[in-house]
Amino acid sequence: MTNSFMSNRRDALKGLLAISAAGALAACKASGEAGDASKPKVLSGGPKLTTAEMALVAALAQTIIPKTETAGAVEAGVPAVIQTLFTEWGDDNYRNYWRAGLNGLEQHFLQAGGQNFAKMVPSQQANLLGKYDAKAYAEAGFDDFYKNMKSTIATAYYMSEPGATEELAYEPVPGEFKGCVPLSDQPKTWAT
């Protein structure tokens, strides 16, 4: 009784929130477009990640968090979250930082693997990125962008619905707090 009341209320509230969020988004876009006409374009690749950049992001994300019994980063919608951060949250500095960082990774893997990272087979991707990752964590200053990007990709994954509810454990309304329970009852980490 209480639960169904709350889940109805929850859905109703979420509906309302979705509406207001869409409104806010529309307002943001309108002002962004108005501003664009008067601003010089400082980015060669424009205010959005290009198709090629998105292909690289998706391939990196899926190699970092592949599909197993649960969704991988791509199935969880991570690339779209990255695109939104890039276009709507970040400023030009942020966009330049990502663009330069992605370009560096693209060039590295072109040299190391002879083709675009996104076009490699998964085993080659895992092999090359595994080595790169190990180096990035072993050598300070080797590629801070990569570490930052990986953390962002992982955060986007664990905050996604499949990441939070399937890969991890998500309980929006626990009902009570228990300070010490066997881990075997809940072997996955809480999403929140």
Partner: protein, 569 residues
């Protein structure tokens, strides 16, 4: 004939209580709130899932532009930013060479919406402190005067906690305490064994763990262990004005809520010596109005109340209304937080917690109580928690692929979060004044805040920092980081105001020459003017102060009601 029996300026933690108590006594009460009416359907975000939270919950450039000060608060995020003021519209200045974080929200309920809910009584030791060590002036009350009012407000608000029998932190009327985690139980045992004068207890928090019939009747429900309180709670499970005091006041039929309306001045009749009402301005339309009443309560928050009284100066009260003592705006206090650490506890790998406790553990003050020091007075209490690390701590580690995914899906080691809250002494040099020329868009002079940490605060923080490390080590924890006590200075401590416990600028006292308010929170100068927000505090203790504001508010309202009933006011 006045418009109302009572005007209450501000609907937050203390104003809500005054309104409830006086409405229930049959008086017609107007609550004037400068912010908007909170509507749960529109404002509460406690049902927003992580995947519906924009931009991975990162603060945007727009947020930073609108809230250059407020966005730095721990409780500011994409689901709570609606509760924090627009800094550009609500400016303040600080004296040269000082820093101050004035962190606030303008809406019905004020900061009771986003408060940390920790609720600790002040003790006899706190009420005697000024007299004993000579800082500030003596409180005009003692614990026994306030105890029944603590009982009353705790019962109504609903405080979860454990009975401990400590003189430094009196027990109260509690709902069942939250459990400690396995690692916290171990921490408690080891710390108490090593330091016989220290206790580790469950935090005392204004979340309902076993609602009373009175609370249920107001539509409030049991805490669901989500730890999302800062977003507003659809269950009404934590105390705030909007779910507790204001609904109770409304039920009487005696409450008039006037929102979006700022008070600029208290009107004062020089012939009678009494306040006649307040001058207001609608924050949207800028329409000004005079509202009259027999009695005025100021509950506009410490700095807000001080501004109103200073701005009410006239030829009969040239230094500000209710300020014949010259103490109005002086003795600004806060609590200074610090002495944090990074440490993990080995063991308990096969254990976890269920649910999210909106609370933690508490270590009551021991410094200069059970353990003396030669270089400081007063003390500090600690708040903390020991939880297992989650994916947030793991995602920055090396690794990719299924192994990385697997590692992130398992909880990490038990890791502590801990912070000490140190008392700040009342000091006349810590002040709020009005800017001589600069005004906000409603014509209110901008406050100039001048507060610094001084010798005693620095000495306490050094002790607290040492004590943090000693306790973590005593508990067998692996200490990854603590600050070096020798590096702590007044300048690098958390800035004044950042404890969000500002108080003291209209202190109570025993002598009208050295205090603004008498033992009933009543102005010495203006008999029908009462102040029960944090500005009445004669000293600050180290306890989170809201429950004390509530107790004094209920007590002062009762006193004012008796005077009105007898015809004296």
């Amino acid at each position: 004939m006045a418009d109302f029996d009572v005007i209450v300026v501000g609907s937050g933690m203390s104003g809500g209580w005054v309104a409830k108590e006086l409405c229930e006594r049959g008086f017609k009460v107007a609550v004037i709130e400068r912010g908007r009416q909170i509507t749960p359907e529109k404002d509460y975000t406690d049902m927003v899932d992580p995947w519906d939270t924009p931009n991975l919950d990162r603060t945007s450039d727009e947020d930073k532009a609108k809230h250059p000060v407020q966005h730095t608060v721990y409780a500011f995020n994409q689901n709570t930013k609606q509760y924090w003021v627009d800094d550009n519209k609500n400016p303040y200045e600080v004296a040269e060479g000082t820093k101050y974080g004035w962190l606030r929200g303008y809406q019905t309920g004020g900061r009771s919406i986003m408060w940390g809910r920790q609720s600790y009584r002040m003790s006899e030791i706190d009420f005697e402190a000024n007299k004993k060590d000579g800082h500030g002036v003596d409180w005009p009350v003692r614990y026994a005067d306030i105890e029944p009012w603590y009982d009353k407000v705790e019962y109504f608000a609903g405080i979860s906690g454990s009975m401990e029998g400590l003189d430094i932190l009196p027990d109260g009327v509690f709902q069942p305490p939250h459990e400690l985690t396995c690692a916290e139980v171990e921490f408690k045992a080891k710390v108490e064994e090593t330091f016989p004068g220290r206790k580790v207890i469950p935090g005392r928090v204004a979340n309902l763990t076993k609602p009373t019939p009175e609370q249920t009747a107001l539509g409030r429900g049991q805490c669901q262990a989500r730890d999302l309180c800062y977003r507003g709670c659809s269950f009404g499970a934590y105390f705030n004005s909007n779910v507790a005091t204001l609904p109770a006041a409304k039920l009487t039929g005696n409450l008039t809520m006037i929102t979006d309306t700022a008070v600029l001045k208290v009107d004062h009749d020089m012939e009678t010596g009494r306040a006649t009402g307040v001058q207001t301005i609608n924050v949207e339309t800028k329409e000004t109005k005079t509202i009259t009443a027999r009695v005025v309560f100021l509950n506009a928050s410490t700095i807000g109340t001080t501004m109103i009284l200073l701005n009410s100066a006239h030829e009969g009260a040239p230094n500000g209304l209710a300020n014949s003592s010259g103490q109005l705006g002086k003795n600004l206090m806060d609590h200074v937080a610090g002495a944090g650490a990074a440490a993990t506890m080995p063991g308990f790998e096969d254990k976890y917690h269920y649910g999210k406790r909106p609370n933690g553990f508490y270590i009551p003050r021991f410094r200069n109580h059970t353990e003396e020091s030669s270089d400081s007075v007063r003390g500090y209490g600690y708040q903390g928690r020991i939880y297992r690390e989650s994916w947030q701590s793991n995602v920055g580690d090396a690794g990719i692929g299924p192994d990385y995914k697997e590692a992130n899906s398992k909880p990490g080691p038990w890791s502590v979060g801990i912070v000490a809250f140190c008392e700040i002494l009342p000091d006349e040099r810590n002040t709020v004044t009005l800017h001589p020329t600069r005004k906000d868009e409603w014509g209110m002079p901008v406050p100039v805040i001048n507060q610094k940490h001084r010798e005693n605060e620095v000495a306490l923080m050094k002790h607290a920092t040492r004590d943090t490390k000693l306790m973590l080590e005593a508990a067998g924890m692996i200490v990854h980081h603590t600050d070096n006590p020798d590096d702590i200075t007044a300048e690098n401590m958390s800035a004044p105001g950042r404890g969000i416990h500002e108080m003291g600028t209209a202190r109570m006292g025993r002598d009208p020459k050295t205090s603004v308010l008498n033992q009933w929170n009543q102005s010495w100068d203006v008999e029908n003017l009462f102040i029960t927000d944090g500005s009445f505090m004669t000293s600050g203790g180290c306890q989170n102060p809201s429950i004390t504001y509530m107790a004094f508010s209920a007590r002062a309202a009762d006193y004012a009601a008796k005077l009105m009933e007898s015809g004296e006011l």
